[in-house]
Symmetry: C2
Subunit: 350 residues, 2 copies
Amino acid sequence: MARKATRKGADKTPDIRAVAALAKVSIATVSRTINGSPVVSEKLAKRVWQAIEQLNYFPNTHARTLVSGRSRLFGIIVENITNPFFPELIQSFEEIAVANGYEILVSSSNSDPAVLTNCVRRMLERKVDGVAVLTFGEEEPVLDQLSFHDIPVVLAEFRLAEPASSTILLDYSTGIRSAVHHLATIGHSKIGFLAGPHKLHSAITRQTEFENSMRSEKLPIDKNWIIECDHTLKGGVIGFGKLQSLVGQPTAVICSNDMTAIGVLRAAYLQGLRVPQDLSVIGLDDIDFAEFTLPPLTTIRLSRADLARAAFEALRLHAENPGKSGLQREFLVSTNLVVRGSTAPPPLPN
Amino acid sequence: MARKATRKGADKTPDIRAVAALAKVSIATVSRTINGSPVVSEKLAKRVWQAIEQLNYFPNTHARTLVSGRSRLFGIIVENITNPFFPELIQSFEEIAVANGYEILVSSSNSDPAVLTNCVRRMLERKVDGVAVLTFGEEEPVLDQLSFHDIPVVLAEFRLAEPASSTILLDYSTGIRSAVHHLATIGHSKIGFLAGPHKLHSAITRQTEFENSMRSEKLPIDKNWIIECDHTLKGGVIGFGKLQSLVGQPTAVICSNDMTAIGVLRAAYLQGLRVPQDLSVIGLDDIDFAEFTLPPLTTIRLSRADLARAAFEALRLHAENPGKSGLQREFLVSTNLVVRGSTAPPPLPN
DNA sequence: GTGAAAGCGCTAACAA
DNA sequence: TTGTTAGCGCTTTCAC
């Protein structure tokens, strides 16, 4: 309010020159002060900071970027912002980025290669300092474009030859093995798996890990009980429907993600099946909502915060050491089983 | 792959000069061509486009912004990206923005004024061409800052004197009246309301609209049945608990948003109350998930797409006509009742 | 330790 | 119609 009176059309947002003039120093000194250069004398620095405060000055990022070649912008591409897993991931990533003086550009690919390509193009235009491609297995179409421009990349479950790239490995094994073991322990042997879309590497990996775990537990794998879904709630409903139409039926279902599991919960309820008495259900992700399903979902937790932190650290490492080699890293994000209410011993055969 | 071979360390991303040289024209002509200036001759334009293609050139946004003063960046600040309503909103906003050559900067305020202030500051630094503040009623702390810099703003349910601002009015009335009327029609007279946090204007408005509707329907308003929640699922659970602890109890509950309603659904279930036979529940928002709750949620739909479009159009109008007056607009986004399975006549008194 | 000056890549005003 | 040129606001040599 007081402000509005102060500001009268003509005067524009102050620039570095205005600060220099007010502090009676050169613009170079202002720049050095702002950037924390150790050479400026305390006396001048103080005058500069005072002027900055007085003018309510802040540097123009675009000018900075133009000359320094660094934008302090990271791109993050997710598969689908509408799946609760991703907002939670973005939230973490943003928090970390902002805390470290970076800004983020978010895009969802919606599983469409054309959209993905466009996302990357736009990020390139904005001169991002790095891109986290967290689409979990659809990244091919853009890898070339990205590495062609030498821009740092971090990928999930995908190794790239580029020196400015790192990868985040998801240790599905621990979580999925625990899940299968948990079910085996309480007496299940007929376990189905609702997979994610096979075009996603991660979906394949999860399924493979499930199969491996079943073998480890010496449990039979029935290929009919492995059904490809699409990681959406509706897909879970449909997938479970297919499972039900089979003659023999599993007593437990592990799902490739939580949304699918929530779909199963819903479908089971509508068919009069009680979870967990009649059917055990396990998800994967542990989205916030998993705690609140009915019954609360037993699920394999994949920490968004860990993922976000790994992605950020990887990008920062590359972005802040341009051209340096030997910086490729592999981050491991683990998974673990969270037992809640959707699993119980199988019903007694009648 | 082929690319990688092509690209050898030394050569950098092409700039406008490279294009000009290859096309044998001046950089001005390249600039004009790219920006669709009608004066360039077809012949030269063609040469320029060829060169652009050949070099895989794209303009540097920061340089453009620096000289033109326009960033083609819009900021969007939401309350909490973790509430499904907002990702859906962001998705729409992004689609529209990208289709129109804009990029977006997303931030969530998390209902924290300090965070909000910081968001705005960062957006100012990035020189956004406008900001959509869709926090639904917590915007005060930043209004000053924004208008001080003459940056276009669009707000929900809040009018600003600034010429470069517009507001989106939410017509809660239609939807809420329909909801109350719907309940009244099927026989409810004891209707409770789980409100949003009172620090949000929108929450107050929704509650007021509920009270008005009750009066219109000549239904009694019991202040004990109006409980302040926080627009989260957990908040809905708690709020419903409070409602249950009262001596007289409503036969229907309208919630200030869907997450609250989902909380009620959950709490009711755990208490052995059947929805809709024992209790009718109505939400507000119609998030994607509402269709999949058990039972499917009857709710008051608030279109994210409409909201996003209004916000974008408002911002564009101001951004593309800088300094022009008479551009303030008021957009009206309507609401309407979507009847699904969570409402039914009240139980007969026994 | 400080300042002058050269650009970063582009647009727009002005000349031709 | 096209080209030349002056900056946009900043960082970063290079002198002093």
